[in-house]
Every structure is written in C-alpha cells, then in structure tokens.
Assembly symmetry: C2
Homo-oligomer: 117 residues x 2
C-alpha cells in the first residue's frame, strides 16, 4: 500500500488522545455495539481494543465510550454523544488536512520506497 | 502538558515512514553525529533509536541516515542530503498544518482532560 493519507494524532502529554486507529475503533463500536466485536472486526485482541478505549476515555474530559456491565467481555458498548462529536471533529480535521496538503503529501510519497500494493 | 500540536505521520503500509519522533531523532543525529548519542539525548535505548533509523531507511527510496562502520555502537552517523530534504518537507507540512488548523486544534484541545503541566 502506498502512502495516500497524512495520519494525524491529537496528543495529550505523551499519549495519543485520538488518531486513525482509535477513530476506526470508535466507528467499529458504533457498527457492532461492543468493544470485543469491534476489536475482532479490526483484527486486534480484546485487550488491545480495551486499552485504546481506556486511553481515549482517560484523555478526554468525558468518556467517549460507555460500557454496560455484564461480565468481563460482555454487556455491550456505545459511543457517547460526546464521543460522536470528538469523532466527527477528528474526521473533519483529517479530511481537510488531506485535502489541503495533497500536493505536499504527493511530493513526500514520491520519496518513499515502492511497496507492492 | 496540554495539547499544543497536531502530530502528523506519513505512513507507508502499516508503518510510519516519518513522524514527530523520527523527525526529532534526525535532528538529534545532525546535532550529535551519532545514533547512540542522539538516542541518549532523546532518552531512548540505542536499540530503539536504531530501529527508528532502520524503519526510516527502509521506508524511503534512499537512506536518510548514513552510518560509518566501526563497531556495533560506533563509527558515527550523518543525515544524508536526501534525509535533510525529507526532514525539511516534513517540518514544513507539520508547521503549516498546525498554523492552518489552530482553531480546530483549540476546539479539540478544549475537549481533552486537564493534565498538570
């Protein structure tokens, strides 16, 4: 896969509060209604998916993902209204950065090694 | 530390070809003339610094860092002309993204948890 996007992260201290992986995970939680199913869809362990959710929830002023009780892996999860707003703002920045800097990205991509698609 | 910058990465496949840490490392190599000294300055292990250099050198069409022979940790390292150009382009994109999207970053930062400075 060649480089088609500039990836952006919003940092808080040493952590990434939200970036491409966490945004994808939020969307997978919206689709599947659970952290474990979202993790499976993204081919990551439940532990990894949970860690990403935990980081987001700690880094923002309000939780982005609300979990219902019901066993260690169960009970379902949903993205809060606050989480929806963060996701929307993140995707808007990501999309506008890539539109605004497509020439610069293309110049940088031309300097990358060629990888088979 | 509160969020003051949007961090950007130029990906190649699943890897980050260059991002904030690798750009800082290139500057530290320019300053110190060696990967080990640059790693120490950035408080990372020699192994970690070397891995970052290796990733950059593999991801780009030409090596960004040239190493001289002379023992496992020795011999010195320098940033190639090609590496200087990549670094300059990366810093330019990073700086212009942050200028262009300072309002959006501020709105997002206002949604982050407060961390002590």
């Amino acid at each position: 896969m060649s480089s088609k996007f500039i990836k952006i992260h919003i940092p808080l201290g040493d952590e990434s509060a939200i970036g491409p992986g966490k945004a994808d995970l939020l969307e997978a939680i919206i689709q599947t209604g659970s952290i474990s199913a979202a993790g499976r869809q993204m081919r990551m362990s439940y532990r990894r998916a949970w860690d990403l959710v935990d980081t987001m929830n700690r880094c923002f002023a309000q939780p982005l993902v609300a979990t219902a009780t019901g066993g260690s892996h169960g009970g379902g999860a949903s993205v809060s209204e606050f989480g929806m707003e963060v996701l929307q703002r993140y995707r808007a920045i990501e999309s506008r950065v890539n539109q605004s800097f497509s020439d610069e990205l293309q110049q940088m991509a031309a300097m990358l090694a060629t990888k088979s698609e």
